[in-house]
Point group: C2
Chain length 335, copies 2
Amino acid sequence: MDKKIATIQDVARAAGVSIATVSRTLSKPSVVSKATQTSVLQAVADTGYRINTTASNLRRQRTGSIIALVPNLANPFFSQILAGLSSVLTQVGFGLLIADTQSGTDPDERLAHYLASGMADGLILFDGTLSRKVLDQPRRLPVIMACEWMPGSLPSITADNRAGAELAVNHLVEYGHHDIGYIAGPVGNVLNIARQDAFVESLTKHSLSVQPDWIYEGDFSMDAGAAAARRWMAMTNRPTALFCASDEMAVGFIGEVQNLGAKVPDDVSVVGFDNIEVGQHITPALTTIRQPRKRIGERAAHLLLDMISASSTSGPSEVVDIEFISRASVARPAT
Amino acid sequence: MDKKIATIQDVARAAGVSIATVSRTLSKPSVVSKATQTSVLQAVADTGYRINTTASNLRRQRTGSIIALVPNLANPFFSQILAGLSSVLTQVGFGLLIADTQSGTDPDERLAHYLASGMADGLILFDGTLSRKVLDQPRRLPVIMACEWMPGSLPSITADNRAGAELAVNHLVEYGHHDIGYIAGPVGNVLNIARQDAFVESLTKHSLSVQPDWIYEGDFSMDAGAAAARRWMAMTNRPTALFCASDEMAVGFIGEVQNLGAKVPDDVSVVGFDNIEVGQHITPALTTIRQPRKRIGERAAHLLLDMISASSTSGPSEVVDIEFISRASVARPAT
DNA sequence: GCATTCTTTGTAAACGTTTACAAGAATTTT
DNA sequence: AAAATTCTTGTAAACGTTTACAAAGAATGC
């Protein structure tokens, strides 16, 4: 059994000062004399004192952590964003609590729970469908969104999805494609809406028409991409190129198309969205739009921290730039 | 501005009882009469009271959260494990703090920080190289390891890595392979050691020899797999099959081999380890060993929670079963 | 009907900090 | 040299809970 952990009392006793002085030495050293500072720090070292965060938080009326609510933790898309968040937060002594909105029963209920729980000083929401609930109730917590958003509601950090879609279309058109399809994300998802809208508009800009049955439904998952591949193979009048709302779908599409005997990019060109790591390791390597995920996490952390220190529930939204990455999954259409 | 948040005092006043009774109604209802219970609950509803976790934690001398230390949050391998952890923890009202050991400067220092910070009631360590540090200092915190381990040190939840390697070799031998290579993980990594040792032993069991230059160094990453592919291509006397210490390397290997014009499984068969999602979506789909990652997370959570409630720093280790998944990346060797 | 036990409630003391306020000492201003 | 200012420290009151202890009331046993 280790002996009892040292408290501020023990340090004060060891240094021969009051607990107030100890506290001040640690949190606002400017107001305490050099001499006492050193003796206090010595006492801290001697006793092995570590501040009790819980007590400190209680007194300061804060929790020292923020909570990230992701739709599905098992989705690797979020891991880099969380890494960005984490790195910024730990620098300023904040903890990062992570919870999954889909894992339990009722996502709305979970959200409400975390909003009211007082477990955190701020909340980052990655699930656009939940944001309405936040607006309904008066919130005593700064809340922002990341990746997804809700028009005119919460502050958010997002990527320039429209620009990404436009770059994808431009690239395909430059390669001579006229018949371009789209593998969509979940219906109603803001990311999908932005990408699809910009996709359609870009086509029109190039005086190309959009064939309704070349818009394949999907849900961002690899399985959805594979399903789209099967539908594509079954068509007689096929697009020669596909823009996918996510890299995962692009990977799923390419894999299944190859399984079924077609060739990428000879038979069909593919552009993804996100730049997940595996994209450059499949054959052919995936042409895609990079979302700076780590940066999104970092910016989100800063935004939320600013709101917390200003104890404000509103703040500026930010759009981070995307980048086009040209690899091997696009070629001129077969003639 | 919303009005001040209600405290237990407000509830007590509204219900006409003492704060002790309110507290008891909420935490140990069995000792309070039915009548007062209902009036207290009514008051809770009226005031919109939510318990202040920080205060509660301070008084109960706990923090209500556990911290997971992962080597690299951006590695998708961990996301499903974290999902498993999270689901168990939230059920019992615990929060999950997540931190990255590699992101900052000194991993050892970070670990020490979290061990002493008092921010959590327990710690899950996913980084085997750090475990020595834990043993050095007297720890006042239950600590367990997951995935990786350290012989005879901390309680751990791990997969049966040796069995996995054996299954892989058996499968390849059944398909008629005699010349089998290994793409290794980081030198010194326990997972790699277990898999490599079992790989070698299994070969010997089948009276096959191990060719030293057929053991390709690697570090679990896709890039390492691609590098191994280039070395494999450059050899004149090549193995006809490769067992990879991770799926990521297997995927990287297959992608690069295809890039360079060879065929899988016609020219070389590949078996991975982990069963990451993308494995079934590449062409050919990857034969592999499944690690039940979600389950590892869940078991780890339970183990740690048990240790916390017993306030013990030791506990049982557990090995979870793996499963062989046969897909398309293995065929009979070319004759 | 009195002694015993069981239920239910309240009082008050923690838990370990931070910080407003006050006060003494040291320094500067006049 | 007195007055005014600045520095440095201590005292004590929070922050919002939980829980040991005591007490009062109700139920039970004889």
